[in-house]
Every structure is written in C-alpha cells, then in structure tokens.
Symmetry: C2
Subunit: 404 residues, 2 copies
Amino acid sequence: MKRRALLSLTASAPLIATGCAAPSSTTSTSAAPAATLQGTGDLGVVIERAKGALTLINTSRREAVGRVTGLGDLSHASVVFSRDERFAYVFGRDGGLTQVDLLTQHITGRVMQAGNSIGGAISADGSLVVAQNYTPGGVKVFDAATLELLADLPAHTASGERSRVVGLADLPQRRFIYSLFDANAICIADCSNPRKPQVTTIPNIGRQPYDALVSPNGRHYIAGLFGEDGLAMVDLWDNPPRVRRILAGYGRGQQPLPVYKMPHLRGWAIAGGHAYLPAIGRHEVLVVDTATWAEVGRIPVAGQPVFVMARPDGRQVWVNFSVPDYNRVQVIDTPSQRVVQTLEPGKAVLHMEFTPRGESVWISCRDDNRVQVYDTHTLQSQARLDVDAPSGIFFTARAQRMGF
Amino acid sequence: MKRRALLSLTASAPLIATGCAAPSSTTSTSAAPAATLQGTGDLGVVIERAKGALTLINTSRREAVGRVTGLGDLSHASVVFSRDERFAYVFGRDGGLTQVDLLTQHITGRVMQAGNSIGGAISADGSLVVAQNYTPGGVKVFDAATLELLADLPAHTASGERSRVVGLADLPQRRFIYSLFDANAICIADCSNPRKPQVTTIPNIGRQPYDALVSPNGRHYIAGLFGEDGLAMVDLWDNPPRVRRILAGYGRGQQPLPVYKMPHLRGWAIAGGHAYLPAIGRHEVLVVDTATWAEVGRIPVAGQPVFVMARPDGRQVWVNFSVPDYNRVQVIDTPSQRVVQTLEPGKAVLHMEFTPRGESVWISCRDDNRVQVYDTHTLQSQARLDVDAPSGIFFTARAQRMGF
C-alpha cells in the first residue's frame, strides 16, 4: 500500500523523490501519526530482524512512535543517519539499501545494490552513503539524497577474484576505509570526486581481516584477523598510513576455547586511556593501554563477550554474551576494573545502545520480543517496549560521531 | 532543473518539502517561514549581540535560514538546546531566559528571571533548564517545557550576603555544579526532586572562582581562580567529591602582563591526554597532562588567547585572541604541538564552533558583521554569512554532549 504509492511517485521524478518527499496521504503499517513538526535529535530505530521492519522510537519519551515495513532481509542489518538526523539508511543482509524518513515514517528510497551486504557508512558532510558488500565483493558509493549510484569499486584478490569487504568506516574529507577479507589488505577510497574515487591499498596487513573499528577520535583503524593471532592497526594520522600488528595472541590464551560467535569489533570500548576488548572464545574482557596498545589486564565475565561498550562518559563498560550466556548483561566499573552488576534483561540479548549523554541504555532481547531500557546510574528499569525479535538499536546521535 | 521539478512535486505536499531544497516561498529575515518538516541535527544559532537577535543557520547548507528578534540584551549570551534539538534556550545578560523554536522560528517562551545572568545548563533527560545569576546571586531551576520556575536557590557568602554564581554545568542524574565567586565555594545541586533540590557545598576551594568547565567525559570540574594563582579541580567520580588545587602559578609566568580579557574556560581543549589552556595575560597556550594535571609544555601564539578549542578529533586546536590581536586565529597541530597556520578571518573574532564531526569551523567576526566558515582540513574558506555583530555560535549537537 505504502510502497505502491511511493513507487508511483518516484516513477515520475526518479532523481528527486527519494530523499525528499513521501506521499502525503499515506502512513506506515500500524497507524503511524500524520507527520508533525518535531526535533529529530532524540529519535532512533530498532531492527526487527525477523519481519524486515523497523520500530521507530523516541528516547525522551522512551516509547515506540511508529513502524516501517518492507525492508527485506534484516537478519544482519546496520544503520547510519543523514547529517540532519532525519533519514535512516538501512543496510540489509540481502544487499538492500533503504532510506527511511523518520518524520513521515515512510521509505523514501530503496535500491538492491548487492547480493549480500553487511553494512555501510556516511560521509561527514552527509553527501555520500557507501555500502560494503560480500557478494559481489566490493564497495559502492551512492548519492545520499537520491541513492543514485556514483561509483562501483570492486575489491579483488591478487589472483583477480572478488574479495569480501568488511570493516567499512568513514574518514574525514569524503574518504572511506575498509578491509578485504580475502585479500589481506586495507583500502582507503578518497571519494572527494565521488564519480572517480582514488583507492589506496595497504597490502599484507595480516590474514583474513573480519571486522574493524575506528577509535572515537578517528585516529586509529583496527582490524581483527580471523586467520592469525593479533590485530592490524593503522594510525591514520601517519602520512602515508602504515599498518602495524598489535596484540599478538589477542584474547586466545593458552588453551583456545570453541568460539560460538565472533565478537563485534564495533562494540569495542575506548575509555580513559584504555580499550576494553572482547576476548575471543574466553570468558574475559581484555584491557589494553591505548598509548602502547599492549594488554594490561583481564576482567573475568559471565560468558564469551560479544559487545563490549563504554557508556559515553567512560565510567562504565557494558558487556553482553554469546550462547549460552546471552540472557545476561554485565556492568564493569572502569576505575576499579571490576564487574559491579549482573543484569538479566531478557532472552537472547543481541545489542545495546546508549543515549548520547549516557543516562540510559537500550537493550534488545530478541527471544522475549522486547527492548529493555535501563537507567545507567541506578541500574533500574526505566521502560519496556514490545518489539518483534529486536536486534540492532541505532539512535540519530550517530550522525554526529566519527567512524560509524 | 532538478530544483524546479522538486518544487512542483512538493507544492502539493507542503509539510514535506524541506530537508532537501530551499523552501519555495520563504525565507530568512524577520518573516519566519511556514514551519516545514525537517531534521534538526544540523541547525544552530548565531548571537547578534547588538540587536538582541538570533540568526538561525543550517550547517549542511552553510546558510542562514531565518532570524528571531526580541531577545533583549545579548551582550554576553549563551545557549543550550532541548534534548530533541528543536528548541534553543538563550540566557541573556539582562536575566532574560528565552525559549526559541528552531522549526517555527518563533519565541515560544520567555521569562525575566534575574537582573544579571551569565549562562545556564540543561539536564541530560531534557527536563530541567537551570540559570546561573550574578544579580541576585544564585541559581534558578525551570521546567524546560513550560519555563515554570521550580526552585530558586540563592547563593550566599559566609556573612550572609548574596554571591555571584559562575561556572554552571550539568552533571548526571539531574544534578548541576557551579561556583560561588564571592564565597570561594563549589556547589552541587541535586535536582532529582526539582522543587526541593538538595545542595552540597564544598567550601574553601580557592579565592574568587570566575569560570569553570567540565571535561568532555564529565569526570573533572575545573574552576579558574581570579583571586590567586592556580585552579580548583574536583574529581566528580570521587565519593564524596573533594577539591584539589592544581597548576599553581597557572599561566602567569615570571612577569605577569596586563590582562585584557579573562580567558573563557569553556574554551579549554582536552585532546589526546593533554589539556590546552589559555595562559593568562601571556602569548602562550599551556599544555597540561590530564593524568597528573602538571604543565608539560607551552606553545607560543600570536596574542593573549581567549578561546582554545579542540577540533572534535583532537588533531587540531584553534585559538583566538584578545585585543589587539583579535583579527587572527591560529591552528595548532597537536601531535607536533606547533602552530601550523595563522588565519585572518575578519575583524574582532569573538567565538568559534566546530561542526559535530569537525569538518568545518564557524568563526564570528563581530566588526566585519560576518561569520566565516572554514574547511578544517584544507583551511580554505567554505562560506561567508552576513550577520550583524555576531558573537556566540551554538550548534544543536551540544544537546548530545555532557557538561555544557
């Protein structure tokens, strides 16, 4: 219904309708309100992974405020936001890139841009949205307003085959950094001329980079290596950027345990001169000195950590776990480096997101079909929302941070 | 071509038009446009100090998008934003507190709450706006939605007279911290019950605190002392909070020079484990180790620094100066701790504000009636805006940061 109206609208002005207008007369599935004037700094989305839908939320009211359906396969989805915090760009596992207007609560643009995709990024000036793809392996650059394809950058191995792309993040000056899982390389694409990006490749960075992060200040890009012990780090303030191997033996310990789920590097917490990392296959969080990048401690936790996330002030680090311990969340006090609380928010905790100033954290409990909101100071429940199989939670404040 | 098509398309759906193109029927000066749907993450205000007005700006388009008049004496004004980034709260020198709707571009609330005021803060949950006052000395707590006065907290000296209040900042859990210029004290008001705040006073913190800041992570509150050498610091993670004197002889050197303008402590940059501080009455920026709070270096600059501000990634620190050097701005590269560029944006540079991800900086040049926008990477001009006697520049992203 909604989709049909959109499609007919965009058919007559394909370059323009996306990013701007949505049909004035329609609403999304479950009685979304008519679009009203409102600020967008306290909005966000929760991925409904089974239904291919978004629940739209307001973090001031701590309520669901709408729902948008028709986003395809969201079994491993991620989201970035437009610079004005009005539009969400949703990268679906099936290669769908969908632009959603949080005000009208409509899909305002959608392209199937790959066969298998795992995320994307947006430039600081808000003009470019970039997707990283597994199949076919490479990166695609889109006009953020229209979703017009501006550049297609296939990624190749030395033998000329396609490589899967992981760990995409934005850098200043319309540049993007990413890693090639099958080519053991890190690439930086300068998209200042977005129809003719210039790609710089750093080869031999280590075997099989599987995910990566940029530190909150945008200086360090760190890729996890699946094919060997350790991590690859690039100091982006070096000119030219060079790679350095850090944390050999990262997290594995003497007797490696079976790994149920690879940790998400995006979950890494950097707070107060320390990085807090999920150990791989062990019930530990690693503490690393960010000046030397050497391990300086380990904190025992309740399971194999997946996301290890700092509250924005760095005073706490919150940890969730893989099967079979994924009903728990633990809170680490960073000054004492001890677990100070174990919470049981619900079944199958998949993701957490802090409000921008850190007073609350939202936690998705997939198998309870619920999002649980906590006060991070009292550790008491502030709200519960019914959401079908929630996974990723993303707030618009991400638009104003580097490296997402 | 593209724009024309857009306008005809959106003409039938006026509520939807903005966010993409300039509104068809509008804009700027005094006649506020019909409010249109738009995101609020890229909005901001520039204080017109002589006219008692605000120029409303958009940092994506780098343009003025409207103007609001009637705010009284804005000769020393500051601004905080509502949690949804829709409303600006403007604290005027004359004690006026004005709530401005950035979407409708109208004043939506205004109270004269004191005779002489120098700023305010807003709680992380967005519910409370607090003003700090010189005359009569004290703090007032308002409902952020209605501007209803919830609590009046007079500040007193030991002998029972009123003390001027400075250095107000928000803390977690609806608490606010501030300093008493005439009582040599720092106070923390717990407004979790906003009609009956509980005030904790830390006495004997040093003579005449004149301004203060909270570190970006919310941990350290640092007050400058007018009546003695040095600074007073409170580690807010201590329980109970205690005060400690740091940087004795702060910035004065062997032969103190005449001070033309007290530096603004809110301008302090904290980046990469160092704080960059304006020396008092000297042509230097001080470098301080934030682990030990000891001075570790001095950087010669072109005049007496007023604002010393870090780009959000900490790679650069920008400095402006008091009379007679206030036509200049210098850029310090933090890894090398050297001045790498001297700019001359215009006459009487009063303030600077970085975009949230740091790609641009906006600089007010009061005596040229101009705001100058620079690309922080190329150091080239990106835009110029005509604004009458501009002073403070404030972007909505402040809503999502601690300690403002």
